[in-house]
Symmetry: C3
Subunit: 298 residues, 3 copies
């Protein structure tokens, strides 16, 4: 039985296989083609933390493939979180469903769930831990909208605390990417990660004409001692149309969303903005992941 | 692409087409006939405010037509309401679904959603704004249970703040209705609306023997300076069996529900009470609306 | 039209018919066989109180049979609970669905719902009242994993307040069971029930080598004047591997879940532990109940 807990569970050829399948599934994700290979299968969506995009795109992925979805309600999630035993909950629910998707505020929760489950478990984010399906859709977006092998990419914003960025850089290493870090001193990627994956710290204006992709993440107010300091720092990492004047014609701008004000609204209309497409790609990529872990026959 | 934001988006012939289709769909709504024309389609139900009847009847309408529904959870709704960008949310969700149904506490929210959506948007109530699908089911109920052309109808209760009433009177104007207003001084229909649609203020007992339909709405405590005043006023607008003694044989009583005590329980058992049927008609009417806005092929 | 409100609504032959059908439906519940006899039918899951296992297993049961499910959201449930009229809510929802499952904190709520519904109502727990589908799955577990006729069973823990136990003993009476009560003085089965069903109070060690089944329920802290007293008492009713050393080879241990610490974790791995299977049996048993109450044709 296969689980997907960490992006490091996957080899480069695993990743390629998933991305190729996702490519093939795009018309199914768009609702233009029917392929009900999950017919009769049930996905249990266990979101102990809210996450509209991730939860909904899993639900849509399963339903577009003809399968069924059972969601935990907010109240159930909080009553389990308050007093119940997660192991027992997983053992019971894995008797009801064919696959479990779990989002939890505690690092390690998805792995723990997998150890107690009789069906495949997919990690949809476990606190400061991993979010491998986000990484796969990020890779898919790069491959489809820019390029993946030898990509030159600037990571902008909070590189210290962003789970998304940490998983992404590990995966990018497999593709011989050239990585640039654009961030305040206090929000630089952890040193052990830099040692593992390489890359260098730069100012955005110095590499803007050279990069294929910019991956923007939100800088959160809570990381700063006061609001004044936050505004000053965060303001320097906002992507505007102005900054993009020197960009390559086919530069793409990615963002895991939700966005607050780290990309100005005038950028949305430029050809560079691919973050809504990126969000959509969550559907075919999660379809491919479901096909990968759930046993099916057509 | 068609949206349904306001009842005024529809011409009389649009309304007729929808009501005719709803009529045809009644056996499907009752589960007696199968017609899975929405198979493979996905409706996103975005209720930022709870509304059991409206949300559920949309979900049932879609499912009876063979389609799938993805609901926002309460917790997701409140986390979007708190900090996220509604435009971004809609852009992303319109990439997941084939049609969006939205209920929001702010007037104009549905129109704003439509402007940012790549799929049809249906307004399921936007604050003090519009609730066009309620109006269509009200018209359907009148047509099926009483009559629509030249109907004589008394609107009872809170005519000032009721979104339902404001939309209804506009639509009734298309049908040459004779409208009576039965309400406290402070809760009369806004003057500009009276100018637009006509009608006269009366006491219920003066027209009870003449009207084809009574449409009752709740008078809310919050509209009055104190509870004593509220009781006195609201008490005069309660529909009882006694009042109905002089009614026409085939008078119908409508209510958008939920009802508190503006219709006494003894009325429920009379042949006049059609408010449960009216609630049921929400299903075939919303089915017809879905067929109208979602592209489908059978 | 059939409702299922209380286990006492069913004769022994009704129970047998349901359990036989559940047996037949196990491969469908496991997703290994397809039998979409609820296709086009809609179940309304009205949980006014959260109950993950019961709600989810009903949803899975309906979906594995090809049917659709509409859930009340947490926020809708609380807004109905706060101000609306349950009778009106049920009248409306029974116009939308083919069967209603209701869980409510007030005893009698399910019966009241049935009186106002135009479709079958299944009680999924009404406060201190009944929980007949739990009783049926308990009987099914006994029949399949141990035996039902002439079973020797020890009920352990809180026998005074446990709704589950009260319903179970009534049903066991039909099967000539030998019942033992293992509980603190203050948590003994109500006297009138003992008079009705018989059985005797014992210490677990005196009958452990003799019983076919142990049914464990949680002792709740709130039943005791202070935490110290609770710990002392509850600690004496914990099932451990040690206690099981003298048990029959094929003794089974049941628990309605969630479990806190009334069964130690080392017991989970023994052949005696059937509580996860018992939870799974909720699916085929609820499938059989749905087939029993919903009109269907294949």
């Amino acid at each position: 039985m296969k689980h997907l807990i960490s992006i490091e569970d996957l080899s480069k050829s695993d990743i390629e296989r998933i991305l190729n399948l996702a490519e093939y599934l795009i018309p199914v994700a768009e609702g233009k083609k029917r392929m009900e290979i999950m017919r009769g299968k049930i996905l249990a969506n266990l979101f102990f933390e809210p996450s509209t995009r991730t939860r909904m795109s899993f639900e849509v992925a399963m339903k577009r493939l003809g399968g069924e979805v059972v969601n935990l309600t907010s109240q159930e999630a909080s009553s389990i979180a308050k007093g119940e035993n997660l192991a027992d909950t997983i053992r019971v629910i894995s008797g009801y469903a064919d696959v479990i998707v779990i989002r939890h505020s505690l690092e390690g929760a998805a792995k723990f769930a997998a150890e107690n489950s009789s069906v495949p478990v997919i990690n949809a984010g476990d606190g400061a831990g991993q979010h491998p399906t986000q990484t796969l859709l990020d890779l898919f977006t790069l491959r489809r909208e820019a390029k993946l092998e030898n990509v030159k990419i600037a990571l902008v914003g909070d590189l210290k605390y962003s789970r998304t960025v940490h998983s992404l850089v590990k995966a990018l290493k497999l593709y011989n990417a050239k990585i640039y870090y654009v961030c305040p001193d206090t929000l630089m990627l952890p040193e052990e990660l830099v040692e593992e994956v390489g890359g260098e710290r730069v100012a955005l204006e110095d590499i803007i004409s050279e990069v294929d992709a910019i991956y923007v993440t939100r800088i959160q107010k809570e990381r700063f001692p006061d609001e004044e300091e936050y505004r000053k720092v965060a303001g320097s990492y906002v992507i505007t149309s102005k900054i993009l004047e020197n960009a390559k014609e086919d530069l793409i701008i990615m963002h895991p969303l939700p966005r607050v004000d780290e990309i100005t609204f005038d950028v949305d209309k430029t050809k560079h903005a691919v973050y809504y497409k990126q969000a959509f790609y969550g559907v075919p990529v999660r379809m491919a992941i479901l096909c990968e872990v759930v046993e099916w026959s057509n």
